[in-house]
């Protein structure tokens, strides 16, 4: 035993324990995210609780925990029906419950507003529809919903046309503003022409809006009445129902289909209910676009800087200072980059652009406010060091003999570089790029002050000229987590969505960095053998 201690074996165990704890923490994080994120879309059974005094509560059971007093348990129900009860969640003592059961006919509605509805279908009221097909009320409801969906699509087309017209009107308004700014008098022909076009457009617009309104009103006439568990009736316009399902009456494969349809909504749908329901499409799109733009700026600069450091610069104090500077850039807090982006890009460059090119719109800023361009430039600065370090290492790993061989054959330095070194180092460079992209995907703090928003009205890339709108604000997965987890009015109801977003972001980042690390390790093996 004494010898055992003298040899220091217990310390080896201590170091082992430290490693185990670290890995357990990492595993715990992944498990928590997985457990909470994966199950969100799986339909939970709806439970009905009957009490001694005859009242009933129905909803999804969220959790069960012992009472603070230590006697008995309490159950948290997600009762939904926010428009009826005011709250989504309710704690219930198990002591008062006579019976818990799962009524087969219980229906869950996902709605455009007020969150979920838990209850029973009571009747369908569709005045201008033929008697819907189907034996049961439930089948009738799905038939009605199908025809409503068809009409909604028509209305959607109308809406698109309205949006197109309103964009054109906005363009005309800006044109007019510009003409006025340039000093054209109101009676000049240019201004008159624009005004005429404006009035024509307005007529079109008004009729279209009126038609759209009519259609919508008609559609909203189609209603269905539901009863909650205590019998209170609630009439809902069928158009407001996003999804209706009977979780207690679903086979596992039906649940799987349901899960997939929710996933589809997640990836392709728009957010609803202050971002706590619906899809993440704008956020995913914003994140991808941001990373893409950032790569455009940061990769060339980073690769060139690394090539300079490794191939052109002479080893000496200057190169050492540059290396220190690069590593310093990597260590600067991201919020400082954000502040820099705000002070330099937005108020500096953006403000000047506005004064030069869009003076007629001032004081409304065009580029002088946060936008995807400034955010991606800020991120580019932040990720440049990652690219530099990776490229530098990749070039450094190439044996000297390769360079010397190429030069000895008469190639110029640039030829050696472009034909031999860069292709050989490309896996390493790729690693740097992917790591930079992963870093950019997870960085939120600098975005918060350079243009991310909780809900962007339009994507930065769309069908309107000039297609790419670099001045627009955007949504981002990371900010989405912060926003709905910390700034939404109903944090408890938002939690599932936060976990889903978290899971998605973690997966994206983990996959990207695993690929990068794998590439790097493979490359390391390729060049570390042999001695030149």
């Amino acid at each position: 035993m004494q010898k055992y201690w003298r040899r220091g074996e217990p310390f080896v165990w201590l170091t082992g324990a430290a490693l185990t704890l670290t890995l357990v923490m990492a595993a715990a994080l992944i498990i928590v995210v997985m457990v909470n994120g994966l199950g969100v879309f799986w339909p939970t059974e709806v439970t009905q609780a009957k009490f001694q005094d005859g009242t009933r509560v129905m909803g999804e059971i969220i959790k069960r925990e012992p009472l603070p007093s230590g006697e008995g348990d309490r159950i948290q129900f997600k009762t939904g029906n926010r428009d009826l009860y005011g709250l989504d969640f309710r704690w219930v003592d198990t002591a008062g419950i006579i019976e818990l059961d799962h009524p087969v006919e219980a229906v869950v509605l996902e709605r455009e507003e007020y969150g979920n509805f838990y209850g029973f279908l009571h009747e369908i009221n569709a005045p201008d529809l033929d008697q819907p097909a189907g034996e049961t009320l439930g089948e009738q409801l799905s038939a009605v919903r199908q025809s409503v969906e068809k009409r909604q699509q028509e209305i959607g087309q109308l809406e698109e046309r309205v949006a197109g017209l309103s964009d054109r009107m906005q363009d005309l308004r800006l044109e007019l503003q510009k003409l006025e700014f340039e000093g054209y008098p109101p009676e000049s022909s240019a201004v008159k022409e624009v005004r005429q076009r404006q009035s024509l457009l307005r007529e079109d617009f008004d009729t279209l809006v009126a038609r759209h309104e009519d259609r919508r009103r008609e559609l909203r006439q189609i209603q269905a009445t539901f009863a909650d568990v205590s019998g209170t009736l609630k009439t809902v316009a069928v158009a407001d129902i996003v999804r209706a399902y009977y979780p207690n009456d679903m086979a596992w494969w039906e649940k799987a289909v349901f899960y997939l349809s929710k996933l589809k909504e997640l990836f392709l749908g728009e957010p609803r209910e202050a971002n706590t329901e619906g899809g993440l499409f704008p956020a995913i799109f914003g994140t991808v676009m941001l990373i893409f733009l950032m790569s455009l700026f940061s990769f060339p600069l980073g690769v060139i800087a690394a090539i300079y450091l490794r191939e052109y610069a002479k080893e000496g104090p200057i190169v050492r200072v540059v290396r220190i500077a690069v590593n310093n850039l990597a260590g600067i807090p991201s919020i400082v980059y954000g502040i820099f982006g705000l002070g330099f890009f937005i108020y500096g460059v953006g403000g000047s652009l506005d004064r030069l090119f869009f003076p007629e719109r001032l004081p409304t800023p065009t580029f002088g406010t946060g936008g995807i361009l400034w955010a991606s430039l800020t991120l580019a600065l932040l990720t440049v060091p990652v690219v530099i370090v990776a490229t530098d290492e990749a070039l450094g790993a190439i044996p000297k003999g390769v360079r010397e061989g190429s030069l000895a054959l008469g190639a110029t330095k640039f030829q050696t570089l472009s034909r031999i070194l860069v292709p050989m180092a490309s896996p390493g460079i790729m690693t740097g790029l992917i790591l930079a992209m992963a870093r950019a995907a997870g960085e939120v703090a600098p975005l918060m002050i350079t243009g991310v928003v909780k809900l962007a009205p339009a994507l930065p890339l769309d069908g309107d000229f000039p297609f790419l709108h670099l001045d627009r604000k955007f949504m981002h997965l990371g900010f989405h987590i912060y926003d709905i987890g910390f700034q939404s009015p109903n944090v408890e109801a938002a939690k599932p969505m936060v976990f889903v977003t978290t899971l998605l972001l973690v997966l994206i980042v983990l996959i990207m960095s695993s690929v990068a690390i794998h590439l790097r390790n493979k490359m390391k093996k390729r060049y570390t053998y042999g001695t030149f």
Partner: protein, 740 residues
């Protein structure tokens, strides 16, 4: 060979060299540029205020001694003087031509002005020779003509008129019209009596007005009053005497004016020559015979049973001769003071900064402030009028207010405080960076407390003891851990870990004890087992796996026993017990949460760098040590660690830099309260999250905006130093072992 081709190739080579060299220098340029730009935004905070003369002229036909007061509008386009004859003369600036003359209507025929007291926004209490008092306000209205050009039209409003006293001749009069229309007049008679007149107009619910007039003598005591001031509401009366005593009354009940204290202000009994309320009506500015300028406000005095007593709070830069007049700015807590020799000082109360001193060739007799503190006007002995434009963007900022303790109004003692905004207008932002720096350091400290041991010990095990197969798995795992977005860590720390910890705080402390104990227990139990041949493999790099069940068991036992212990020792609720027994508050988002959240983000960074430097120690050293008969731990402790220590040091430094600058985790999991408490159960507000929280609301170019940039500079400098030290050490290390 084709000469052209070779030329082209050479040209390309040169071009590439240029481009690539330029790219390299762009990086250095970037680092310097970022620092310079951020610093440039924060520099104006410390710039010296400037005053430059906009206009100087001799008003026609006016003698200096005839002028009672003067003022200027905020655009510095019109200046005016008030003469003894009761006439306001407005001059256009900078020409000095007379634009308008307004005769004030005297209360009695042929009255001239005796004294004018400025208070509020260009409001004067005028004492006429007949003894009557009027309150008049000079207002500048902006008018726009068809072309959008602005002209400023001065006018005068009379707010109140009070007839002369029946008994006694006033030498000084103060009158205030409160917001509800209540009129208060204080008269100081030539025989040192103080008289209060109050006219209260109340309106009942039917809109009937009733008027109540009260006349009351105020007990002024034996001291001879030499200076007087009254707050805007007319409820707080302050007086200074010729033997250096400050007196204070509460007049809110006009029938019974209450004297709230008599404070001998100066030991040498010097005369108090000027009094004014600082903007916000809490502080009293006091000027004395010896040129001293100080501010006072009531502070509760525990030695007198909590009674509020005037105390000297700020001492501002003094004058060479007696202070004759103090005027408070209407924008902030700035004061201008005029002394007998005609020197003007502009000082800020809270920052105690002496902003501007003006000693003109001709001593000034009267001074005035523009409404928003943009300009200053002065009339000299020779009746020459001078108007200065003030460049004074951040008077409230000084090194002392940013980093030191400051005695803010309504506080019982000097404090470090960060409170940048509030709902009220006359609120003074409290912008001490000390609690924020403290928060940053506290969060970093707790994070490093967890991260450094775990990361370093883990790195030692991975690089030295683990089987190579595991090493190839562990390293990428930890690197992937580094890639987890901090927003995810912050979210989990705040919304998953913090509530969990709050429910199981006792279990957490138990596991702090159980984990080491179980480790020792496991080692002791291991002694007989390690003789079994089949289990000996474990000592060849499988230790960490075999420890997994032990550690999990220890934590599980702690969680099972936690509620039991809590019930037995702390009456079932630890946080409640802690509050009632120790007075310690438990925040849900506290330093323990930060320790884990921020620690989690820092571990992989320290781990990776430390592991790299440990594995890069030449294997010949290790082989030599083992060959000499040293055990594997002895080899690590005596040979490997000393060789790798610079790398490990660099790793810790870089981890430290990362923890200091991390934003999202601390933003989400600290609670963001700017308190300075060392307790692990409280949160904090670090510099980084403070920037993220406040910058969207900070007006561009304002004080807060610049201070946030300043805190970015502080963050930058902190991380810059840490990173540079780490990098220099690392480069040394690389050169040292490059030869092996």
């Amino acid at each position: 060979m084709d000469q052209k081709l070779i030329k082209r190739i050479k040209r390309r080579d040169t071009l590439a060299r240029w481009i690539i060299t330029a790219g390299g220098f762009a990086i250095i340029f970037c680092v310097i540029f970022i620092l310079l730009l951020i610093a440039r935004v924060s520099f104006p905070l410390f710039a010296d205020p400037e005053a430059h003369v906009v206009a100087r002229f001799q008003p026609e036909g006016m003698a200096g001694e005839n002028i009672l007061a003067s003022g200027v509008d905020e655009y510095l386009e019109n200046a005016y003087v008030l003469t003894r004859g009761g006439e306001l003369v407005f001059f256009a600036l900078p020409s000095g031509s007379v634009v308008r003359r307004i005769e004030l209507e005297p209360p009695g025929a042929g009255d001239t002005l005796e004294a004018a007291e400025l208070h509020g926004d260009q409001v004067y209490t005028l004492l006429w020779s007949g003894g009557a008092v009027t309150v008049d306000r000079v207002a500048f209205a902006s008018q726009f003509d068809e072309d959008g050009n602005r002209t400023i039209v001065p006018r005068v409003e009379r707010q109140a008129e009070l007839s002369a006293l029946e008994d006694g001749e006033p030498v000084r009069a103060l009158a205030r019209v409160a917001r509800d229309g209540t009129l208060t007049r204080i008269s100081l008679t030539s025989d040192n009596r103080l008289l209060l007149d109050r006219v209260a107009v109340t309106q009942d619910i039917f809109g009937r007005e009733s008027r109540e007039e009260i006349r009351q003598a105020i007990d002024g005591g034996p001291d001879r009053i030499s200076a007087l001031t009254l707050d805007e509401a007319g409820d707080g009366l302050y007086a200074g005497t010729d033997n250096g005593v400050l007196l204070r009354w509460d007049l809110s009940d006009a029938r019974e004016p209450q004297r709230l204290g008599r404070v001998p202000a100066f030991d040498d009994q010097r005369q108090i020559t000027a009094l004014t309320m600082v903007y916000g009506d809490i502080s009293l500015a006091v000027g004395d015979e010896k040129g001293g300028l100080s501010t006072w406000f009531p502070v509760s005095d525990p030695s007198r049973g909590g009674e509020e007593r005037l105390r000297l709070i700020h001492e501002l830069t003094g004058h060479p001769t007696a202070v004759t007049r103090i005027i408070a700015s209407r924008r902030d807590k700035s004061l201008i003071s005029l002394d007998r020799s005609g020197i003007v000082h502009l000082d800020h109360m809270t920052s105690e900064r002496h902003l501007i001193g003006l000693d003109e060739i001709s001593p000034l007799r009267a001074v005035g402030f523009s409404t928003r503190g943009t300009g200053l006007v002065g009339i000299g002995e020779d009746a020459v009028m001078t108007v200065w434009a003030l460049y004074n963007p951040h008077p409230e900022v000084s090194l002392k207010t940013l980093f030191g303790k400051v005695w803010y109004e309504s506080y019982d003692q000097p404090v470090y405080a960060w409170q940048s905004s509030s709902s009220s207008d006359d609120f003074e932002p409290k912008l001490s960076l000390t609690p924020l720096i403290f928060g940053t350091l506290k969060g970093t400290f707790y994070a490093m407390l967890l991260a450094v041991p775990l990361a370093l010990l883990g790195a030692i095990y991975t690089s030295q003891f683990a089987r190579p197969r595991f090493r190839e798995l562990i390293k990428p795992t930890v690197e992937v851990m580094a890639a987890i977005p901090t927003v995810v860590i912050g979210f989990l720390a705040a919304l998953w870990f913090a509530p969990l910890l709050e429910r199981n705080i006792v279990a957490f402390f138990l596991s702090l004890a159980f984990v080491p104990t179980s480790l020792i227990l496991a080692i002791v139990l291991w002694q007989p087992l390690r003789r079994v041949r089949a289990l000996q493999r474990i000592e060849r790099g499988y230790e960490f796996i075999s420890l997994l069940p032990v550690l999990i068991l220890a934590v599980a036992v702690a969680f099972v026993l936690g509620p039991v212990f809590e019930g037995l020792l702390f009456g079932g609720d630890f946080t409640l017990w802690m509050f009632s027994e120790g007075g310690l508050r438990y925040d849900q988002r506290n330093s323990i949460v930060i320790s884990f959240g921020l620690g989690f983000a820092v571990i992989p960074i320290i781990f990776t760098i430390a592991e790299d430097s440990l594995s890069n120690v030449p294997s010949s050293l290790r082989a030599a040590s083992l060959a000499m008969g040293a055990s594997r731990w002895q080899t690590v402790w005596r040979v490997i660690l000393p060789s790798a220590s610079p790398g490990i040091f660099a790793g810790v430094m870089i981890g430290l830099g990362r923890a200091i600058g991390e934003t999202m985790i601390v933003l989400m999991a600290t609670g963001n309260t700017a308190i300075m408490s060392l307790s692990p159960f409280n949160g904090m507000r670090p510099l980084s999250s403070n920037i993220a929280v406040e910058i969207p609301e900070a007006p561009v170019g304002g004080t807060l905006y610049r201070i946030l940039f300043l805190s970015a500079v502080i963050l930058f400098v902190m991380t810059f130093l840490l990173n540079t030290v780490a990098e220099v050490v690392r480069q040394r290390l690389r050169r040292k072992y490059g030869q092996f």
